[in-house]
Amino acid sequence: MKSLVFLEHADGAITKGSLGVLGKAAALGEAAGVVLGGGAADVAASAGAFGASTVYAVDDPALAAPLPQPRVDALEAVVRHAGADNVLFASSVLAADVAAGLAARLDAGLNWDVVDLAVDGDALVAKRPALGDTVLVDAGWTSTPRLALVRSGTFDPVESGGTATVETVTAEFQDFSTQAELVEQLQEAATGPSIEDADTIVAGGRGLGAPEGFQLCEGLAEALGGAVAATRAVVDAGWYPYSTQVGQTGKTVSPRLYVALGISGAIQHKVGMQGSGVIIAVNKDPNAPIFDFADLGVVGDLHTIVPKLTELVRARKG
């Protein structure tokens, strides 16, 4: 079974998630990597050490910016050139758009949120949690190539110590694929202590109601001796800095204690904090998905509970 793995890269390095999927692909059968854009050939060679026998590289000015549509053209070219039973992606903002575009281009099935892959005879079976992780689905495909987006943080890279043959492929780009353009890329400098090292994290979401709501998180974090984190919804809204964001597009944390205040518990947030020792959630909506995985779920208004809680913790610590 031959799998092509989309190897996303930034600043000359392939992402950890992509290398993890590559390792899984190598365990399933023949694994080849695909590296697109920005010095592709140089980046490609590094994938040999993580399980790729061949890496197909497409470098073209159309692939310079991290935009999905020209990548659909390039991947289609590689699939036609090399052939593939599976095309696998580590989930990311870019990869999701590339995978779905390729699915439509090839009329190929796409399973997302995949947390495991297994070969069953000629077939591939994906395990994927669904409906807010309340049911585990064995999903399949009815045609090839089979496309899969693997949930963030699922597979760790495996060092195979091998070397890969790098093959350059040329692609043709559709007019509509190259219409979107990157105007600018903004990076926010990290501020404050890193949440990745914190033993205790108090995280806030949209339920805080306003940017000032974060004072409640800061007070409780100070009392507990921890750091403050945030969801993407509030970071995107400008309430708190990007460097504190937990989740798929932010940081992955595993403190001993994670207190979630006014956070619904979306999958993309969960993948960044589910490894925490103890999860305590305060949310006024009894149906919030976070209660499905919190160790202590408190249904109530954070604005009345948290000030009192902070005081009690302070008093205990003396």
Partner: protein
């Protein structure tokens, strides 16, 4: 400006979501609601219309009763609703859904097509890209800040590496993040007026979609088996009766966390 917003009816948040083991499809028999993050897409469309004039059309693929949920967005201010409803479309996966929506969108000839962040039942956050591919139009997704001028859209979005600002000429497809705006509540006048706005329920044939490319026939993925997720043990749940803070402290002490 002609704007179409793709919106979905999903099981209401209070309903227990389940997959019907007979059909291996989501059980849609209970109460339905408009997908929460689609309200952000409707809101953004209304703001563009308010600034530049035009018309906002809702487009949904779903069961006949989905029209009830579309009325909420009509009450917010959308002008008309088109529901593609057909037994042959039931069980559509990504490629099948994108085929049907793209056909319906071709008929609408919109300058701007909006999507929400993700559907609460499928959790895919992928559909727009497949639809844009079929329409052969540029797409910008996960947009947390948007500007629209007469000829192009410019969106700012968060990725794993920071923020990207992306510009695409019209006609274009834009998927918004749930941080882009606060959706308005329908006014009483809006709710009263919604009933009399044009609401069209159409079949696959009406929009020129191919029945063999829709529903299970057009799908390329399949559900093989269902199982319960690994059980999490020892979960404690409390409702605040005024003593929640004390109970949390007790729990922290018991777990030796303070």
């Amino acid at each position: 400006m002609k704007i179409v917003v793709c919106v979905k009816q999903v099981p209401d948040a209070t309903a227990v979501k389940r997959i019907d083991p007979g059909t291996n499809r989501l059980d849609r028999s209970g109460e339905g609601a408009l997908n929460t993050t689609d309200l952000n897409a409707v809101e953004e469309a209304l703001r563009v219309k308010e600034a530049q004039g035009g018309e906002v059309t809702l487009l949904c693929l779903g069961p006949a009763k989905a029209m009830e949920s579309l009325r909420k967005a009509l009450a917010m201010g959308a002008d008309r609703a088109v529901l593609v409803s057909d037994d042959a479309a039931a069980g559509s996966d990504l490629v099948a859904t994108s085929h049907v929506l793209a056909k319906a969108l071709e008929r609408e000839q919109a300058d701007l097509v909006f999507f929400g962040q993700q559907s609460g039942d499928a959790d895919g956050a992928v559909l727009w890209s497949a639809v844009a591919e079929r329409l052969r139009r540029p797409v910008v997704s996960q947009v947390a800040e948007l500007t629209v001028d007469g000829t192009a859209v410019t969106g700012k979005r968060q990725t794993e590496f920071g923020y990207d600002v992306i510009r695409a000429p019209l006609p274009a497809v834009v998927a918004v993040s749930d941080a882009i705006n606060e959706p308005r509540y329908p006014s009483l006048k809006g709710i009263m007026g919604a009933k009399s706005k044009p609401q069209e329920t159409v079949s696959l044939a009406d929009v020129g979609a191919d029945a063999s490319a829709a529903g299970e026939a057009g799908s390329r993925t399949t559900v093989l088996a269902l199982s319960p997720p690994p059980a999490k043990s020892g979960q404690v749940r409390i409702e605040d009766d005024g003593t929640a803070a004390e109970q949390i402290v007790e729990y922290l002490v018991e777990k030796r966390l303070i």
